[in-house]
């Protein structure tokens, strides 16, 4: 039953994740949106002027080369925004303070540039906003997610201990994962661990490792972590794609999953049905797919910054990459726990490719019935019910 | 160390020459070979991984013969001495689960000749008397009667007389100065005597001057299968002596894989001389006659027929195209099995396995792989099996697993399709 509880936790985490993901994209643009006059907003706030304009540097160069200008492009270019008047300049009598001037600039006051090749904005604050978001929000709070999950797992283990196979092992096994499944899984798992460790070092090395190790060691370690992270990134994407393809079958949500949720993953004392994968496992799979692909995309952008020119995207990528990472690490911790020390018989499936019949009946009854052709009889929840092995054998 | 273990290890290591040493050194434990071995394929039991069958020899070699062993010894890195229990535990792997088919060699990235190495291990086991009962009985028969099935010269003569009557041809016995001396395997003499008749018909047509010796008619060499060097030498010597006495120029090895290897390739090395005659496999001879136009084929066999390549003939004997050329002439509807030719799958009973009752069940299991290949051919009617031993295994296997295919020898097929 507690196994289902664990799977429920997985689910909860997945919800948190999707929440994080729907919020995250809003956070960063919000910074940008607050600063009036960012390029995207300019046309809305400032009416376009139809006065002829001198061209950009590029236009000038094209003209010099005797090439024809592209009138389309010239028209499309946003007109310079109407200048926001600056507060009166600092006079000899000191009517205005410097602080006021800077504040105005920061909040987006425009200068009157001599040409409109520059966008007219004197101070670009997105970088600072990003830095503050990263330092004061992400770095401060995000690492607590995996740490918290780890704590919960320890607590859970101490309270509940290992989930045993009810009725013990039957000694008979059913094949569950083929060799290629196992290779795909462990390939991804080993690269994931490397990526997670090096990534965490990059993310929280400064607050956590630096005080412990001192500048010299820390800088060496981080240089190594960065190289390793960059190097294994593409391998991770390869492993991810292989695993996505390999495990897609059987991971689409089914009717039984609704029942599984309605029965609280088995927490309510009733048996929760599951096919080859239960709802928790399927959720984990789709987290791997979507967050994993998100990590891949943002990671590629960070590793090959020339792919996109817009600064905003890069800032967004670092934020999303960090958020996705902590979420994935947190959920993976749960996955590792339940797949190894947390539950008897679970590791067999990935190590040997085979699982015990009793394990299969208990945790994946529908799948068990499908492969063995036997009926799965459930003990009804109490640990003292006789092992269902005998009943199953008679059928 | 017990004396038995000592004998096994010493003999095995004596047999380990530079080639075997290279094999033992080079294995990278990649496990590819498992996928080639019919015993593993049929059972999926990892212990049938070919390289695993060599473990005791590997350990002994590392401890007693490998270069740099002294340095490793100083660091305490040598494997422990191989114990007698361990050797006995491996006995069934060495004797029951290797037909010495050599298929694993093909897939091995290092090209290890597992079959040849198993043979060396059997030398050790046999020297210490650790031999499966079935093979021991066969050996006793050989020592007594000269044939593993106890076929005496009298029995042979009776079978020959019957074949003479059936074919109406004279079969020359002990003919001095004949050009060819034909050998048979006990299995053929007792189980498929029509082979003798087939020889008579083909040779009569091709005008070949041949004979059968009453002193040396048995071609199979149990000594080689068990790994009993002295016995193997004795059996080869018997043939060589008879051939010398009769003054033949060619000795024909029968449709039997191991026999061919034993006389053709191992024989001269056992006796330490190059023979004064040519050893030729019956398939080679038939192919030669075919090329010379001395085998005129009349009506072809119209059934859908496939060919089983006996490992010792095609893979370890090098006769790949010969049987196919003969079959193309003799059959109208010849089809290949999947993976035929050098990568063919063993029948499961070679290398003394079929003479070893303990291995019966495993052998049948292994044959199921072969049978699956037969079943995959649509409308198959018959399978040509140019090896008396394989033929027996096929018949047993088809009996046990069900399967309605006729099993025929190549010489009989050729004899049957000769122009009248």
């Amino acid at each position: 039953m507690l196994r289902q509880w664990m799977a429920g936790l997985t689910f909860a985490l997945s919800v948190m994740l999707s929440a994080a993901f729907s919020v995250a994209p809003m956070v960063a643009p919000a910074q940008e949106a607050n600063a009036p006059g960012s390029e995207a907003e300019a046309p809305a706030t400032a009416p376009a002027t139809d006065k002829p304009r001198p061209g950009t540097l590029e236009d000038i160069l094209r003209r010099q080369q005797g090439l024809k200008l592209d009138p389309e492009r010239l028209l499309r270019r946003p007109a310079p925004p109407a200048p926001i008047p600056l507060p009166p300049q600092l006079g000899t009598l000191g009517r205005q303070s410097d602080a006021d001037l800077w504040r105005a600039l920061k909040s987006g006051a425009y200068a009157r540039p001599s040409s409109d090749t520059a966008s007219g904005k004197l101070m670009q604050t997105a970088g600072e906003e990003w830095r503050r978001l990263r330092r004061e929000v992400i770095l401060k709070y995000a690492p607590w997610l995996p740490a918290g999950v780890l704590g919960l797992l320890v607590l859970f283990y101490l309270i509940r201990g290992r989930i045993r196979i009810r009725g013990g092992r039957s000694g008979r096994t059913i094949p569950r994962f083929s060799m290629s499944h196992r290779i795909a899984h462990w390939f991804l798992a080993s690269v994931f661990i490397l990526m997670a460790i090096s990534g965490l070092m990059i993310l929280i090395g400064r607050p956590v490792l630096l005080p412990l190790l001192g500048h010299e060691v820390h800088s060496v370690l981080l240089s190594a972590a960065l190289q390793g992270h960059n190097l294994f990134g593409p391998v991770f994407i390869l492993a991810l794609l292989i695993a996505i393809v390999r495990f897609m079958r059987g991971n689409f949500f089914q009717w039984a999953d609704v029942k599984w949720i309605l029965r609280g993953g088995g927490m309510l004392g009733v048996h929760a049905p599951a096919h080859h994968y239960n709802f928790g496992e399927k959720t984990w799979y789709w987290i791997v797919v979507f967050v994993g692909l998100g990590m891949a995309a943002t990671g590629l952008l960070l590793e090959f910054p020339w792919l996109v020119e817009t600064l905003l995207y890069h800032q967004l990528a670092t934020i999303l990459h960090a958020l996705g990472a902590v979420v994935m690490i947190a959920v993976a911790l749960g996955h590792i726990y339940i797949g190894s020390i947390g539950m008897e018989g679970a590791l067999d499936s990935m190590l040997k490719g085979e699982v015990d019949e009793n394990w299969a009946r208990e945790h994946h009854d529908l799948w068990y019935e499908q492969v063995t052709g036997k009926k799965a009889v459930h003990g009804g929840g109490g640990d003292d019910t006789p092992p269902p092995a005998a009943a199953a054998e008679q059928t | 160390m017990s004396e038995t273990a000592d004998t096994v290890i010493r003999t095995m290591l004596d047999q380990t020459d530079g080639d075997i040493a290279a094999y033992l050194e080079a294995c990278v434990h990649c496990g590819e070979c498992a996928e080639a071995c019919h015993f593993y394929l049929a059972t999926q039991d990892p212990k049938y991984t070919p390289t695993y069958k060599l473990m005791p020899l590997v350990k002994a070699y590392k401890r007693h013969k490998a270069p740099l062993r002294s340095v490793k010894g100083m660091l305490g890195l040598l494997p422990a001495e191989v114990s007698e229990e361990e050797l006995r535990e491996w006995e069934s792997l060495v004797y029951d689960s290797c037909t010495m088919c050599g298929r694993c060699t093909l897939v091995c990235p290092m090209g290890l000749d597992i079959a040849g190495t198993i043979r060396k291990m059997r030398e050790g086991y046999s020297a210490a008397g650790i031999v499966p009962d079935g093979l021991r009985t066969a050996r006793e028969n050989v020592v007594k009667t000269g044939s593993p099935m106890g076929v005496t010269a009298k029995a042979l003569k009776a079978q020959i007389a019957r074949q003479e009557k059936e074919t109406g041809l004279e079969i020359p016995l002990d003919k001095q100065g004949a050009e060819y001396l034909a050998l048979f395997s006990s299995m053929e003499v007792m189980g498929y005597p029509e082979v003798i008749g087939a020889y008579a018909r083909i040779f009569a047509r091709a005008g070949i001057d041949w004979t059968i010796s009453t002193e040396a008619y048995e071609a199979t060499n149990i000594g080689v299968q068990i790994g009993d060097g002295p016995l193997a030498r004795k059996l080869v010597a018997r043939i060589v002596d008879a051939a010398r006495k009769l003054g033949v120029r060619h000795v024909i090895s029968p449709e039997c894989g191991h026999a061919y290897g034993a006389i053709r390739w191992a024989g001269p090395n056992m006796l330490g001389e190059t023979f004064p005659f040519e050893v030729i496999h019956i398939i080679e001879l038939l192919d030669r006659l075919r090329a010379e136009g001395r085998l005129e084929i009349g009506e072809k066999d119209a059934r859908r027929i496939t060919l089983h390549d006996p490992c010792q003939i095609v893979r370890r004997g090098g006769l790949l195209k010969e049987p196919r050329r003969l079959l193309d002439d003799a059959c109208a509807d010849f089809v290949e099995m999947k993976g035929s030719g050098v990568t063919n799958l063993c029948c499961g009973g070679g290398g003394g396995v079929s003479a070893n009752p303990r291995a019966e069940e495993l052998k049948t299991q292994a044959f199921s792989c072969k049978k699956a290949q037969l079943d995959a051919i649509d409308g198959l009617k018959a399978v040509v099996v140019p090896c008396a031993n394989c033929r027996g295994v096929f018949e047993d296997g088809l009996d046990a697993l069900g399967g309605d295919y006729e099993v025929i020898g190549l010489s009989e097929l050729v004899a049957d399709t000769l122009k009248d």
Binding site: I183, W186 | D17, A26, V28, P109, T343
Partner: protein, 214 residues
């Protein structure tokens, strides 16, 4: 002499000496066991067979590769990647030219190195995963297999971590592991990098004599 100088100086020469002497000793030792001349009249050439056997076993046979393609791919990826990285990484070429033999050859560009290294890592991980998750592999593997894999992995990993060439200590770490690897090499299964010739050759020669063109 500091630790770094020691690792990059005397320790390296010592390791190299052990490697060369050990590997030679073992290789020659195997050949010197020798074998008796074969008296059976040959049907073909043993010499050609030796060469053919060596070449033939570089390529898998389709029939079997069907079943183990993942492993076969992993094997190729690792070995080819490692070969490229070992002999064509720019720092390695420099090292060989400046400290070993005095001549160099064109090195891989940085992106080439990265691709080769990625391929090698992917392959090695696949091989290693197979080693512990396949029942056959678990049965036949011993500690030598695992030590060899890990040592090679660490050598490759530290090499990549030192790629920036900004920290002497990272380079020294890589060097130190390389030295361990070199010393371990002649005593271990890593020797297959040389012994493969002998075993393939032995089989090839015997097949060649029998007139087989496999």
């Amino acid at each position: 002499m500091g630790l770094v100088e020691f690792i990059e100086g005397p320790a390296f020469w010592f390791a190299l000496a052990v490697f060369v002497a050990g590997a030679l000793w073992r290789f020659v030792g195997i050949i010197r066991i020798g074998h008796k001349p074969d008296l059976a009249p040959p049907k073909g050439s043993a010499g050609w067979g030796w060469i053919r056997g060596n070449l033939r076993h570089f390529f898998p046979r389709g029939l079997f590769a069907e079943r183990t393609w993942m492993h076969v791919l992993g094997g190729y990826a690792f070995h080819l990647g490692l070969f490229a990285v070992m002999f064509f990484a720019a720092p390695h070429v420099d090292f060989i030219r400046e400290r070993l033999i005095g001549v160099g050859w064109p090195a891989l560009p940085r992106w080439g190195f990265i691709i080769a290294a990625e391929i090698a890592f992917a392959g090695l991980i696949v091989l290693w995963v197979r080693r512990f998750s396949d029942p056959v592999m678990r049965l036949i593997s011993d500690w030598d297999d695992h030590v060899g894999s890990w040592l090679t992995f660490l050598v490759m990993l530290t090499g990549c971590l030192a790629l920036e060439r900004a920290h002497v200590s990272l380079r020294a770490l890589h060097m130190g592991l390389v030295e361990l690897w070199l010393i371990y090499f002649p005593f271990s299964r890593l020797m297959h990098a040389f012994t493969f010739m002998l075993s393939r050759g032995a089989t090839g020669a015997s097949y060649g004599r029998k007139g087989m063109t496999l």
